[in-house]
């Protein structure tokens, strides 16, 4: 029973990070299977999970290659989907406050999941822990499952059958939830959703999420009373 006692003592950031790692990792099978189906070799598919390491970008890349698009278009689609990581990195740099080589490692792990678990935590040390635990858990599981999917195909079937896509969205919402009590974050979320819905039918994948950056700018730069409550 000692292991149960230990599991209970894990901090919220650790537990959430591992849970998100498992849920995200399950998608790695689909990533590996899709990469090979699109015409990439197993090493090429693995390289995207090891080095590109951004699910949305990888699926976009495979989608273009699989549809017979040019290599340049595949790179462009991948990059458009990955651009949001640049905005995460601005915030995570301030949360993590790193210098030297650790920045290089943190940069590689700066993705939706690690950022979401980090901002969902209540204290600075938990925010840092959440980032690292989630980033490493997703990295290890995503790569193991990509290899599995690339070698054996989509043997477990579509993860959507098990509702894993809904679990992923629910995880992001649950992590965002405590932040939405503040007026600024709530306004940002509302404006982001409105902008995203407005442009989604007319823009390529990736842009509907990116356009949300405008919401952060509009709310963050809007005039306000002199006494600003800090989170």
């Amino acid at each position: 029973m000692r292991s149960w006692g230990r599991a209970n003592r894990l901090s919220p950031a650790t537990r959430q990070g591992i849970a998100v790692g498992v849920a995200t990792g399950a998608y790695g099978i689909g990533c590996g299977a899709l990469g090979v189906a699109a015409g990439l070799s197993v090493p090429q598919t693995m390289l995207t999970s090891l080095l590109l390491f951004s699910g949305g970008s990888q699926f976009a890349f495979f989608g273009v290659v699989g549809a017979g698009g040019s290599a340049g278009t595949a790179v462009a689609a991948s990059t458009l989907l990955g651009l949001r990581n640049a905005f995460y990195s601005v915030q995570m740099a301030q949360v993590l406050r790193l210098s030297g080589w650790r920045r290089l490692l943190a940069a590689h792990l700066t993705i939706d999941e690690s950022t979401a678990v980090s901002i969902g935590q209540a204290t600075p040390s938990e925010r840092r822990r959440g980032f690292w635990v989630t980033g490493l858990a997703v990295f290890v599981l995503w790569n193991l499952m990509t290899l599995t999917g690339a070698l054996i195909g989509d043997a477990l079937g579509d993860p959507r059958t098990y509702g894993l896509d809904a679990a992923a969205a629910a995880a992001f919402l649950a992590l965002l939830w405590p932040r939405l009590r503040g007026l600024d974050p709530l306004a940002t979320a509302v404006v982001a959703v409105v902008l995203s819905v407005a442009v989604a039918p007319f823009t390529p994948a990736g842009v509907p999420v990116l356009v949300a950056v405008l919401a952060a700018l509009v709310v963050g730069l809007s005039p306000r009373p002199s006494r600003v409550p800090r989170p």
């Binding site: 290089l104 940069a107 992001f172 965002l176 963050g220």
Partner: protein
């Protein structure tokens, strides 16, 4: 461009984007306006991500399907202060059941 080259270029660009924020000089982030905007960036991006993952179809139109049902149950669970893993499990179960029933 060969496929190998495309893979490597995509990997390089992905890493460059992830690294960019860590290379911003700390002084540039001391500005009051910057300090107000940057914590809102993940909030904005994740909000839009949740939307595109649960309420938009592949053509970018609003759609109510199994994913939306899962998200709605997650909202109720969060309002009831359910623990994290329960929220995820309920959302997955709901979406899975709706898909099973729908076909």
């Amino acid at each position: 461009m060969s496929l190998w080259l495309a893979v490597l270029v995509a990997c390089g660009l992905s890493y460059a984007m992830k690294l960019s924020g860590y290379l911003v000089p700390p002084q540039a982030l001391d500005d009051e306006r910057v300090r107000r905007v940057t914590p809102l960036l993940p909030v904005a991006l994740l909000s839009a991500l949740i939307l595109t993952q649960s309420l938009l179809d592949e053509a970018g139109r609003l759609t109510l399907d199994a994913r939306a049902a899962g998200l709605a149950v997650a909202v109720v669970a969060l309002m009831a202060r359910a623990p994290f893993l329960l929220v995820l499990a309920l959302a997955a179960l709901t979406a899975g059941l709706v898909r099973m029933v729908a076909g």
